[in-house]
C-alpha cells in the first residue's frame, strides 16, 4: 500500500481551504503550515496564466529527508509509505529541512507562541494542546493525516472514499480538486487519473518520486 494524492489544477482556485483544514485538524502552532498554496503567474501580458499549486509533504518514495536524518527519526512507514517523524528520536538538528527540496518541513521552536500575540492563548489553542500536542524543539510536517487513516481503517473505512478516513485537506476542498487513494492499487481512482490525464509531480526533476501528482 502506498497512499498518494492527485490534484486537479483546473478545479483548484487557490482558496487555501486545504491550508486551513490542515491548520485546524492538527492545531498547528502559529506560523507553522504543513499545507500551503503557491500562487504565481506565467506568460506575458496579455497572455497570462495563473499558476496555483496546493502543496504539502510529497511523501516521497526516495525521500531526501530520510537520507539526511542522523537519528532515524524521519522514516517511511512500512505499511503505507507515509514519511513520519518520531518526536522522541528527533533531535532538532534540522538537516532534513535543508535536504527537503520542497520546503515542506517546519521547526517548532516556541511552545508559548500565541495566535493573538500578547493576548493569551484562546480556549481553542488550549484545547489543541490537549487533543493534538506538538513537541517543542522538533521538526514537523504533513503526515497525510495518518491518524485519520489509521482510525478509519480500524473502523473498516476506506481512505479516499470515506470522509472520516481521508486527509482533512482532501475533504475540505470546495472544488473537489483533491483525490486520495492507493498508488499501488492499479485500479484506484488516482491511478486512473494519473494515467488518463498524464499526472506529474511538482518538480519531478528533484528525483524524489513524490506521491502527489498534479493533473490539468
Amino acid at each position: 500500500m502506498r497512499w498518494g494524492m492527485v490534484i486537479e489544477q483546473k478545479r483548484c482556485i487557490g482558496c487555501n481551504a486545504c491550508t486551513l483544514a490542515c491548520k485546524a485538524e492538527h492545531f498547528l502552532p502559529p506560523e507553522i503550515l504543513w499545507n500551503r498554496v503557491l500562487i504565481s503567474e506565467t506568460g506575458k501580458y496579455p497572455t497570462v496564466n495563473k499558476l496555483i499549486y496546493s502543496i504539502r509533504c510529497n511523501q516521497c518514495d526516495e525521500p531526501k529527508c530520510v537520507d539526511a536524518c542522523p537519528t532515524g527519526a524521519t522514516r517511511k512507514r512500512e505499511q503505507d509509505n507515509i514519511v513520519i517523524i518520531d518526536d522522541n528520536e528527533c533531535v532538532g538538528c534540522r538537516y532534513c529541512m535543508i535536504a527537503c527540496p520542497y520546503q515542506a518541513r517546519s521547526f517548532y521552536e516556541d511552545g508559548d507562541a500565541e495566535y493573538f500575540p500578547g493576548q493569551g492563548q484562546t480556549e481553542h489553542e488550549k484545547m489543541g494542546k490537549v487533543l493534538y500536542p506538538h513537541q517543542v524543539g522538533v521538526v514537523q510536517k504533513c503526515i497525510f493525516c495518518k491518524e485519520r487513516i489509521d482510525d478509519g481503517l480500524a473502523k473498516g473505512l476506506k481512505p479516499g472514499v470515506d470522509r472520516d478516513a481521508t486527509p482533512a485537506c482532501v475533504i475540505a476542498c470546495p472544488t473537489m480538486a483533491m483525490h486520495f487513494g492507493d498508488l499501488e492499487d492499479p485500479y484506484s481512482d488516482i491511478n486512473r487519473l494519473i494515467k488518463e490525464k498524464k499526472g506529474k509531480p511538482f518538480h519531478p526533476e528533484y528525483g524524489t518520486e513524490p506521491s502527489i501528482y498534479y493533473i490539468e
Binding site: 481551504a17 502559529p30 481553542h124 470546495p174
Partner: protein, 902 residues
C-alpha cells in the same frame, strides 16, 4: 471522533452540530465539531446542496478563531470620550445591559414621538454576524417608522446596478450561469465561484465541475487573479467599460449575424411593444395596456390579448393615429452605433476579440435547441453572461448591468437550462404543506415581478418624490442602495430642502462603515455630528472606536440561532436542479460572557418603547409572505408597505401581546412552513429541511407569463418626475442616462484621467477576505502574508518599470482630489497596464483588530462620495479612482492613528 487526535485525552463531549456558516453572505451549510465544550473544526455539510457538499472555504474554517478572538466584545460598553473622529480613543467603560438598553430606549422613545426618521438604522449581515438582518433590524426599523435605512458599504461593496438589474430581469438578487448545462460563460468583473461571497460554496463546487466538463469561461477583468486566473480566456479591459463590450456583442449578434431568439423576444420581453415618437408605449385607450402589432391579422392589439397570432418585432405602424414601431426594432437600430471598433477604443480590448467572442457566444447559444429534463421539454441555451461588483461599480452601473442582461435576453438564455439563472425566485412550496411558496408574477404591463418582498422589486414603479428620507431613495425609484447622506454633497441638498430634520440616532448592526464606505473623511464628518450611535458588533472596529456611543456584544454565528439563511430563496439559494434545503443556524456553543442574541435585544428594546405588539404583527406578515394564501401572489409590494396589507390575509403565528423567545418564534415558523413534525427540534438534528426541486421551479421562465424590458420604457416614464423632484432638492444627475435605450456612458473614473493622473485604481475581492473583519483572524492573516498579492498594491510590470518602480517599493497613490493611500508594490504580468489594484478592505487602524492593524491598504480612502460619482439610475458609487503613482517614504494614511491629532 472524525478528527486527528494524539494520545488518549479525556473526552466528555464530542458532537458535530449542523448549522450555517457566518463567514460571509453565502451562509453555506456546515458541520461544526465541538469537543469538551470547545469548537475545534468546521467542515462543509456533505448531505445537502446548500454549499460545497462537504467542502468548505478557508474563511469558514477560520470562524473558530473569530469565535475565540480575545478582542471580542463581551459586555455592553459606553464611550466616555465625548470627542468622535476616525482616530479618537473611545475610552470604553463597561455598563450593564439594563443601563445600556434603558438609555437606548429613552432616546428611541423621544425620537419616535417626535419624528421616527430621525433614527437611521442599518448594517450588514456579514462577516461573522448572523443572517437575521431582515428579521431583526429590517423589521425593527420598518415598525419604528423610519425611512432611513442605510446598509454598510451602501453603494460601494454592494451591487446597486446588479441588484436592480437582477430584480428587473430575474426577480432575484443576483445571477449565476447554469453551470451544470452552460457551455460558454462570459464573466464581467466578478469572481463567481472563485471568491465572491454570493453563493460561494455551491458556486465554487459547480463552477469547478463546469471547468472540468470543458465549459468555456471568458473573463473580462482588468486583473488576472481569482476570476481571470481560472478563465479559459482572460480579457483585460479598462475599468467601467464592460457595458460597451456587452452592447457591441449585442450589435454583432443582431446586426451582423442576425442571431436572436425571436420566440423569447416576442413572448418574454417587451420587444413587440409599440413605441411612439415620444419614446413611450402606445397604449390602448380603453385599458391603458401597451399595444403590440399582430402580424397575422395586421392590426394592433393589447400585449396580453390571447388572440395575437404573431407578435411583430419589426415594421413601422400607425396605431390610434400615432406612428410607432416595436421596441425590438428601435433597440436593434440603436445598437448599430456600438461597433466592436468603438468598444475597442473605450475598453482597449481588440475589436476582433470582441467580435470573435460575440460570434462564439451566438453560436454556442444554439437558438431553437431544446432539452428534456425529468420529462419536461425546455429551451436549451447553454450560454450565459454575468456581472457583479467590479463590472457594475461605476457611474454607468445600471446601463452596464442591463446591457449584459440584454445579451442574455436576445438569445433567450434566461432561467432556462444552460443560460443565466437568478437565485431561485420560484418555490412551489414544501410538499407537505404547500407553504414556503414564492411565485413571480406579471405586474404592470406584464412585467416580471418577484413574488415576495425584496429590496429590488421594480414594479409597480414608485412615484418619484421630493425626498423626505435622508437616503434620497424616494427621489429615484430605480435607485438601489444609496450612498446618501454620507456624501460631500448631501448638505447642499438638505439645505435647499430647508433641513426638515437631522439624524439624532444611528443604530447599526455589524458592519464597519468607517472602513468599508467610500471615503472615510466624508464619512467622519457625517458620523461625528450624530449625537447618539449604537452598534451591535463582535469586535471593536474603526466605526465603533471612532463614533459609537454604546456598543452591545453580539453573538458569533457559532453561538447564534438563525431562521433564515439570508433573506429567502432569491438570495443565495442553490440554482438549477440543486435541491431545496431550508437551513437552520444553531449555537454550537452557548454565548459566553454577556453576549446576547441580537433579535432578542431588539425585542427588549421594543418592550421598553411599547413596540413589541407591532413587531409581532409585522413578523406575522413577514412569515405569511412566504406562505399565507394571498400574499404570495404579489400584493405585498414591499415589506415596508406592511400597513396596507389586509389583516385577513395574514396568518397569526405570534399573538400581538405575546412575548416569546427567538427559539419559540423559530419553532412556530418551521411548523407553519413545513408542518408539525418538522419543528425546530427536528431541524436542529438534521440541519436542513430538504425536498427535491421541480423542473418548473429550477427553470421557471416559460412556466410563468411574465416579460422583461429590453426597452426600459419605465425610465422614460419616471424621468420628468425625477427631474422635477430633483430640482426642488437642487440635485443634478446625469439626465442623459435616463434613457429607455441601453447605452454606454463614459464612467466618471475615465473622465478624470488627465495628465499625470493617468492610472485607474480599483479594488478586488480576495477569496480569503470579506468585509473588514477576516483580516483580524490569524490563520487568514498568515496565509495572506504568504500571498504575493493580498497585502500589496499590484501593477502591470511594464508600467511599473516605465514609472521607475519595482517590487517592494513603498508607493503612494494620489487622486486628483488629493486623497492618498500608500502600500508596497508587487508587479504582475496579469494586469491591465493602465491600472493599479488593491485587495478590498485592508489597511486596518482600529485598536480592536490588532492582528489586522497596518496590513495592506485601505482602497476606499481614494474614492469620492457624491452624486457626481454615482450612477444616476441605480446610485451605485464609482468604485474606481483615477490616480497618479509615485514612490514615497511614509504611510500617510496612518498619521494621527492612536488618538493623536490628525
Amino acid at each position: 471522533m472524525g478528527m486527528s487526535v494524539k494520545g488518549k485525552p479525556e473526552i466528555w463531549d464530542d458532537e458535530w452540530v449542523r448549522t450555517t456558516c457566518g463567514g460571509c453572505y453565502a451562509t453555506c451549510t456546515i458541520r461544526a465539531h465541538r469537543v469538551n465544550g470547545v469548537v475545534v473544526k468546521i467542515e462543509g455539510e456533505p448531505d445537502n446542496d446548500f454549499g460545497a457538499r462537504g467542502g468548505v472555504c478557508g474563511k469558514s474554517q477560520a470562524m473558530i478563531q473569530a469565535l475565540y478572538d480575545p478582542n471580542r466584545i463581551n459586555y455592553p460598553v459606553r464611550r466616555t470620550n465625548p470627542k468622535k473622529g476616525l482616530f479618537e480613543d473611545p475610552r470604553w467603560e463597561r455598563i450593564s445591559w439594563d443601563e445600556a438598553l434603558d438609555e437606548i430606549a429613552r432616546q428611541l422613545k423621544k425620537i419616535r414621538e417626535d419624528n421616527p426618521n430621525k433614527l437611521m438604522h442599518g448594517g450588514t449581515p456579514s462577516p461573522g454576524m448572523g443572517p437575521n438582518l431582515p428579521l431583526g433590524f429590517g423589521v425593527f426599523g420598518a415598525v419604528f417608522g423610519t425611512k432611513n435605512w442605510h446598509v454598510g458599504g451602501a453603494g460601494l461593496h454592494c451591487g446597486s446596478g446588479s441588484h436592480m438589474g437582477a430584480g428587473l430581469y430575474h426577480a432575484s438578487w443576483s445571477i449565476v450561469p447554469d453551470y451544470k448545462y452552460c457551455n460558454y460563460a462570459i464573466q464581467f468583473g466578478s469572481n463567481k465561484g472563485t471568491g465572491s461571497g454570493h453563493s460561494l460554496g455551491f458556486n465554487m463546487r459547480l463552477s469547478a465541475d463546469a471547468r472540468a466538463r470543458g465549459m468555456k469561461n471568458i473573463v473580462f477583468d482588468p486583473i488576472c487573479n481569482f476570476g481571470g486566473g481560472k478563465a479559459t480566456e482572460w480579457v483585460p479591459l479598462l475599468p467601467g467599460t464592460d457595458g460597451i463590450i456587452a452592447l457591441a456583442m449585442v450589435n454583432v449578434l443582431l446586426n451582423e449575424r442576425h442571431i436572436y431568439d425571436a420566440e423569447f423576444l416576442k413572448l418574454k420581453t417587451n420587444g413587440p411593444y409599440l413605441i411612439g415618437p415620444d419614446g413611450r408605449y402606445v397604449r390602448d385607450k380603453a385599458t391603458d395596456k401597451p399595444m403590440v402589432w399582430d402580424a397575422k391579422e395586421g392590426k394592433a392589439k393589447t400585449f396580453n390579448d390571447k388572440s395575437v397570432g404573431d407578435f411583430a418585432l419589426e415594421g413601422n405602424y400607425e396605431v390610434n393615429g400615432v406612428k410607432c414601431q416595436p421596441s425590438f426594432q428601435i433597440v436593434r437600430e440603436h445598437m448599430k452605433q456600438y461597433t466592436p471598433e468603438y468598444a475597442s477604443r473605450e475598453s482597449t480590448v481588440p475589436a476582433e476579440t470582441i467580435r470573435r467572442i460575440a460570434n462564439e457566444f451566438g453560436d454556442a447559444a444554439m437558438v431553437g435547441a431544446t432539452i428534456e429534463i425529468n420529462g419536461q421539454k425546455l429551451p436549451y441555451r447553454p450560454v450565459s453572461s454575468v456581472m457583479f461588483r467590479g463590472g457594475q461599480g461605476h457611474t454607468n452601473s445600471a446601463h452596464s448591468y442591463c446591457a449584459l442582461c440584454l445579451l442574455n435576453a436576445i438569445v433567450g438564455a434566461m432561467d432556462v437550462p444552460g443560460g443565466t439563472l437568478g437565485w431561485p425566485p420560484m418555490v412551489l412550496g414544501h410538499p407537505d404543506t404547500g407553504r414556503f411558496k414564492v411565485i413571480p408574477y406579471p405586474c404592470k404591463d406584464g412585467m416580471l415581478t418577484a413574488g415576495t418582498f425584496m429590496e429590488h422589486k421594480p414594479w409597480p414603479i414608485e412615484e418619484p418624490k421630493v425626498p423626505t428620507d435622508q437616503v434620497f431613495k424616494e427621489l429615484c425609484p430605480t435607485a438601489s442602495f444609496s450612498p446618501q447622506p454620507m456624501t460631500s454633497d448631501f448638505d447642499r441638498y438638505w439645505d435647499k430642502l430647508g433641513r426638515p430634520y437631522e439624524i439624532e440616532m444611528f443604530m447599526v448592526f455589524g458592519s464597519n462603515m468607517a472602513r468599508t464606505v467610500q471615503n472615510r473623511d466624508i464619512m467622519e464628518k457625517f458620523l461625528a455630528r450624530i449625537p447618539f450611535i449604537v452598534s451591535i458588533n463582535l469586535v471593536h472596529n474603526e466605526f465603533t472606536e471612532g463614533f459609537a456611543d454604546i456598543v452591545l456584544p453580539d453573538c458569533h454565528p457559532l453561538e447564534s440561532w438563525g431562521l433564515f439563511s439570508s433573506h429567502g430563496p432569491f438570495f443565495n439559494w442553490p440554482i438549477g436542479m440543486e435541491g431545496w434545503s431550508f437551513p437552520v443556524r444553531q449555537p454550537v456553543v452557548k454565548p459566553a460572557y454577556e453576549r446576547r442574541e441580537m433579535i432578542e435585544v431588539l425585542w427588549d428594546i421594543a418592550d421598553r418603547i411599547g413596540m413589541r405588539e407591532e413587531m409581532n404583527q409585522y413578523y406575522n406578515v413577514y412569515f405569511s409572505s412566504f406562505g399565507g394564501e394571498a400574499l404570495i401572489s404579489g400584493d405585498l409590494a414591499s415589506v415596508r408597505g406592511v400597513k396596507q396589507i389586509d389583516p385577513k390575509k395574514v396568518t397569526q403565528i405570534i399573538k400581538p401581546e405575546e412575548k416569546i423567545s427567538f427559539y419559540e418564534m423559530m419553532d412556530r415558523a418551521f411548523k407553519f412552513y413545513f408542518g408539525e413534525k418538522n419543528d425546530l427540534a427536528f431541524i436542529k438534528k438534521h440541519g436542513t429541511i430538504d425536498w427535491p426541486k421541480q423542473v418548473q421551479e429550477a427553470y421557471w421562465r416559460w412556466y410563468v407569463d411574465v416579460r422583461v424590458p429590453i426597452y426600459q420604457e419605465h425610465i422614460a416614464e419616471i424621468k420628468p418626475e425625477v427631474m422635477k423632484a430633483a430640482e426642488k432638492a437642487g440635485v443634478e444627475l446625469d439626465w442623459e442616462q435616463f434613457t429607455p435605450l441601453l447605452s454606454y456612458f463614459t464612467p466618471q473614473v475615465s473622465k478624470e484621467i488627465s495628465g499625470e493622473f493617468d492610472l485607474y485604481c480599483f479594488s478586488y475581492r480576495d477569496i480569503l477576505h470579506t468585509g473588514t473583519y477576516t483580516m483580524n483572524l490569524p490563520w487568514l492573516d498568515e496565509v495572506s502574508q504568504r500571498s504575493p498579492y493580498t497585502y500589496n498594491i499590484t501593477m502591470n510590470v511594464d508600467m511599473a518599470r516605465k514609472k521607475g518602480l519595482k517590487d517592494g517599493d513603498l508607493i503612494c497613490l494620489e487622486s486628483p482630489y488629493g486623497r492618498k493611500v500608500t502600500g508596497t508594490l508587487k508587479t504582475m504580468q496579469g494586469q491591465h497596464p493602465q491600472t493599479v489594484a488593491i485587495a478590498a478592505c485592508s489597511g486596518a487602524w482600529a485598536k480592536g483588530t490588532p492582528v489586522a492593524f497596518g496590513k495592506g491598504t485601505n482602497f476606499n480612502i481614494l474614492l469620492e462620495s457624491d452624486f457626481k460619482h454615482a450612477c444616476p439610475v441605480s446610485w451605485s458609487q464609482e468604485t474606481a479612482a483615477t490616480v497618479k503613482v509615485y514612490k514615497t517614504d511614509k504611510r500617510v494614511e496612518f498619521e494621527g492613528v492612536g488618538g493623536k491629532a490628525k
